[in-house]
Every structure is written in C-alpha cells, then in structure tokens.
C-alpha cells in the first residue's frame, strides 16, 4: 500500500478509530517507519480533530420548552373540538395510499392532455369546415361574378343590340 492510500485512511477510518485491530496495527507499523505519513497524521490530529476537543455545548433557554408546550396544548385543544375531530376522522377515512395518488395524478394528467388535444382537433375540424365554407362562399361569389360577366358578355343577344348590330 502506498503512502497516498495510507494518508486517505488516516484522514478517515484511522483517525476516527473505525478500523479493525489488525488493520489498525498495519497502519501503526507503516507510521513507525514513515516520517512523512507520521507528520501527516499529526497535522490531521491537530487541525481536524483536536480543534473540536472541549467544544462548549450551547445552553438551551427554558423558554423554548414553554413555546413547544404552548403549541402542543393549542393543538390538543383544536383536536378536541368535536367538529374538527369529525372532519379529521372523515379525512382519515379518505386517506389514499401514496402510489394510488401518484397513479391517479398521472391518469388525470393524461386525461387532461387528451381532452385538450381533442378540443384542439375539434377546433381544427371546425376551422377546416369554416374554411371550406369560406372557400365555397368565395367560389360562389366568384362564380356569381363570372356568371354576371358571362351574362354581360352574352348580352349581345338582346333585341335592341341585335337591332343595332
């Protein structure tokens, strides 16, 4: 095992005493013969372990318990309300397991997507019908105008015209 690997172990399992006795002895033997790793161990100990020794535990003010207690009592009072209890028991009855809710959500989502797609198709259908209707209307108008033109052109057959011609 090379020194880099030994140093990695020193940083975690060795310094934290998370090793089996045999493994620890192996590292101990390496340290006794390797000044570089020994220095590394001393640095880890000073910079990353000893700094936490004797750290003060902050004192929690008594007022915090009073706040917790008050909040719990308020909750208990609310839960003792018969109307609220009725609704809570009703909602307990209506509890649906999470996977069912997830599947139902996905199903509803797909239904919404399909429904929206359906509306879009219908709308597109309406539009195409409308467009067709408009085209027919234009055709009709154009046709009518053409008929008028033809009628004008074929107007040469009127009696007065025939007289002058």
């Amino acid at each position: 095992m090379n020194c880099d690997r030994i140093k990695e172990i020193i940083l975690t399992d060795y310094i934290d005493g998370e090793m089996k006795e045999e493994q620890k002895k192996f590292i101990d033997r390496h340290l006794s013969g390797c000044a570089d790793c020994r220095n590394f161990y001393e640095t880890v100990k000073t910079d990353a372990k000893d700094v936490f020794q004797g750290a003060e535990r902050p004192e929690l003010p008594e007022a915090v318990w009073q706040k917790v207690k008050t909040a719990i009592i308020e909750k208990q009072i609310k839960s003792e309300n018969p109307v609220r209890r009725f609704w809570e028991s009703l909602s307990d009855l209506l509890v649906i397991p999470r996977p069912v809710v997830a599947v139902a959500t996905v199903a509803v989502f797909f239904c919404i997507v399909l429904a929206l797609a359906g509306i879009k198709i219908t709308r597109t259908g309406d539009l195409s019908v409308n467009m067709q209707h408009m085209v027919e209307l234009f055709d009709y108008s154009a046709g009518g105008a053409a008929d008028d033109t033809e009628e004008n052109q074929s107007g040469f057959g009127t009696s007065i015209e025939e007289y002058f011609l």
């Binding site: 940083l11 975690t12 934290d16 910079d47 750290a55 902050p58 003010p61 917790v68 207690k69 208990q76």
Partner: protein, 185 residues
C-alpha cells in the same frame, strides 16, 4: 445507538401524554440544540429549529416504529431541519448581499444574522467553511460522537459518502490552517 428514554415513557408520549413528552424533550433537547446551533450558527434560528423538531416529533410520534433507534430518529429529524434552515438562511443572505451590492454598501456576508456571543467560537468559525452536508457530518462525528454507521442512518446516505464528506471537510481544515485561518476569516 443507545436510547435516551425508556420504552414506557416513549409509549406514554406516543399516546399524547404531555408529561412523558416533556421527559423526551429533557432527554434530547440538548443534542438537538447543539446540532442545530452548530449547523445554522445562529442562536435564534437554532431555537426555532428546536421548536420545529419537537413539534414534528410530537406529530409523528404515533407513527414511530420502535425497530429503529429513537435517538437516531431524533437526530435524523434534527439534521434535516437544521440543513434546510441553513440553506434558507444562506439564500436570504445572498439576496441581502445582492441588494447591498446594488446599494453600494459594504457588508461582510459571513456576519449577517450571526450571533455575537458565539462569533468568536473557533469551532463555528471553521465549520462555516464547509457546505451544510459536510458540516452535519462533522458535527455528528466530532461533537456528538456518532459512528460512521450511525451517521449513515441519520443522514440516510452510504458509509462511503460519510467517509468522503469527512475526508473533504478535514482536507479543508488543513488547507485553512496552511493558509492561516485568520486570513480566511
């Protein structure tokens, strides 16, 4: 992990007995506050974390399964609450700094919201150089004396993740000492 309260007290507390719940509080509030304070580094915020943690414990106690250690469960709720609170404070700090930069006011970001009494605490000074996940790992290991296995169950991560977080945190401490902690602060 050795449990902090007897099974009888725990069962009473589970049934909503406030006196039994007070015993649970007395037995665990010390370490809950220590973890919360070391993670959020602000006395008032840590007190709020303690309140949130115990109200959550009270609400969820009925669903607590005694197969897992009660102490581990309390540590888990505490670590999550403290890390979330820390992240929220950090976001607020960022917004403050952005605002102050826009107003051309010089503000030391590390000092916003920090409790003066504890500002000179060396432990908190070096913990503040870590990200919240590394910080929680170091606090549980160095100040609460939890084993890797216990930290792994509290934080719900693998043992190798615990090792990596501790390793990175310690490398950071060593780097800071090389460059001089004072210069960094």
């Amino acid at each position: 992990m050795e449990d902090i309260v007897s099974k009888e007290i725990l069962e009473k507390a589970m049934r909503g007995d406030l006196e039994a719940f007070e015993s649970v509080y007395r037995a665990s509030a010390g370490f809950v506050y220590n973890v919360a304070f070391r993670v959020v580094h602000n006395k008032e915020e840590a007190e709020e974390v303690v309140q949130d943690v115990f109200l959550k414990i009270y609400d969820k106690l009925k669903g607590f399964r005694s197969e897992s250690s009660f102490k581990t469960w309390v540590y888990r709720i505490t670590a999550n609450a403290a890390i979330n609170r820390y992240k929220r404070i950090a976001k607020e700090k960022e917004r403050h700094v952005e605002f102050d930069e826009n107003c051309d006011v010089a503000v030391d970001a590390d000092k916003i919201g920090m409790d003066e009494k504890y500002y000179k605490d060396k432990v908190n000074d070096i913990l503040d150089k870590l990200n919240p996940d590394q910080k929680a790992c170091v606090v549980l290991r160095e100040l609460e004396g939890l084993s890797y296995q216990e930290i792994s169950s509290v934080l719900n991560v693998g043992i190798n993740t615990v090792r990596t977080r501790l390793k990175r945190a310690r490398e950071r401490f060593m780097d800071l000492n090389k460059g001089g902690v004072e210069n960094e602060l």
